[in-house]
């Protein structure tokens, strides 16, 4: 999978603030409660950027590319479902694999799933709709796997259906683009307490999570892109976070950890 990074402006890691999981939870809460930016608005931007990163990582053209989007039950999964829609629209052959039954996903994620069903996109649940052999076959034959299984709110080792799906992704050994952080990697420490994804690239949202730069994070995350979900500087200021203007050069920036 040849990466095409020339279109993306770069930002030195030292020049961008990080936010812990607890701070990011505050950021999300304040976006909704204080600024009226809904979860669906943020999710749309996250998923749209994620599809862009997948396109860049796949060499610039998604037509004929087989993309498997692995989706957890929370809002990280919802971002993956938005990306799936944009990937279909750009010509990719997309399969959506959910970790959990559809009605056990977050409300926002179910909203995105309903759109995909209406589009006739191919969606199934890992544990119930595919045999182990079918799941393995689907993943091994993917050109790119999108990891939207677990988000920044999850600490500790992945469990149950998420653990199982992550295990299959890891064993398939295909290029992975993770949303926000590789599933299984702690957002604050960068350590993996159990099974974890090693991504080719990670699109983190709003501001990077410290775990991308610590512990196993740098080895697990691959290239780190930062995506703008449209949060105002006043929001960060209200929470005492100095965000600066990381998106002055573009809405997706490549975070350069070597500089």
């Amino acid at each position: 999978m040849p990466a095409m990074q020339m279109a993306v402006p770069a930002l030195r890691a030292a020049d961008v603030s990080t936010v812990t999981a607890a701070q990011m939870a505050d950021v999300d809460r304040s976006a909704v409660e204080d600024f009226g930016i809904t979860l669906l608005q943020m999710m749309e931007q996250a998923g749209s950027h994620l599809a862009d990163v997948v396109r860049m990582e796949a060499g610039g053209d998604l037509r004929e590319q087989r993309v498997v989007v692995a989706v957890g039950p929370g809002n990280n999964g919802g971002g993956g479902l938005v990306a799936a829609r944009h990937l279909v629209n750009r010509g990719a052959s997309v399969r959506v694999v959910l970790a959990r039954p559809a009605l056990r996903m977050s409300e926002a994620a179910r909203h995105q799933l309903a759109t995909l069903i209406a589009m006739g996109a191919h969606c199934c649940v890992a544990t119930y709709d595919l045999t182990d052999e079918e799941l393995e076959h689907v993943l091994v034959n993917a050109d790119v796997v999108v990891d939207a299984v677990l988000g920044y709110r999850i600490h500790g080792a992945p469990r149950d259906e998420a653990e199982r799906l992550i295990g299959f992704i890891v064993r398939a050994g295909r290029p992975v683009v993770s949303l926000d952080l590789p599933s299984g990697v702690d957002p604050d420490t960068g350590e993996a307490a159990g099974i974890a994804i090693t991504a080719t690239a990670t699109l983190t949202l709003a501001l990077p999570k410290p775990g991308l730069f610590r512990g196993e994070g740098p080895d697990r995350a691959g290239r780190v892109y930062l995506g703008d979900i449209g949060l105002p500087e006043a929001l960060y200021a209200g929470l005492g976070i100095s965000a600066g203007q990381p998106f002055s050069a573009g809405r997706i920036v490549l975070v350069d950890r070597t500089a």
Partner: protein, 242 residues
Amino acid sequence: MTSSQTRSFTEKVGLLSEVALFAGLSEADMQAIGHATTMTHCVRGQRILSPDDPPDRIHIIKKGRIRVYRMSPDGKQLTLDIYEKGTILGDMSVLGQDRLPEAYAEAIDEGVICTISPDELNRLIERYPVVGVNIIRHLSRRLQAAERELEAMAYQRVDQRLARKLLDLGQRFGVKTERGTLIEARLTQQELAEMIGTTRETLAHTLGDFRRLGLLESSKHSVVIRDAEHLAEIADGDEASR
């Protein structure tokens, strides 16, 4: 629904008495109802419901787990949910519930399903009015629950919403133990937070308050309600005394 093995009549009656729809009936009444309903023993993979079925039957899961799924035009399945004992499936308009659109249902493991047709249900209600009363109770509980949920989201504090939700989960899924009502959490804190419209952090904080007040014990995978009465007072709007 194709039937495989039908259970013995006494077993059938024994199982029927667990269904809330039939609460309040005598042993003799239950025996009579046993004749009027179909109890099916299903095997793994057996189809229980399909969109092509006559849309007029109620199925009550008595034992086992049922997978409900949709099928795309090209035959690909998408699992919607897994239901367990006590769930009512099928055309539930008679019970005030919508039919799941285009849904199929099949048994995940061995199970027992009790099936009632509308005619059978009407006859049952005529002969045993208490069945009709039980349906009214069921509907009214559902309506009250829906109204409470709306009201809770709009006006109530997080501790009220959490207390109400825990009592509700306790009633629906709780197991009575010596220490109190045990709710085995299939839910993460994040999911519980979303159910009551708050953040995980606020939920954790409120659970901590409840623990300190001795209202409950909570661990990663379970909650034990120790003092349902006090929890109910909080749900009704009394401030949790700090």
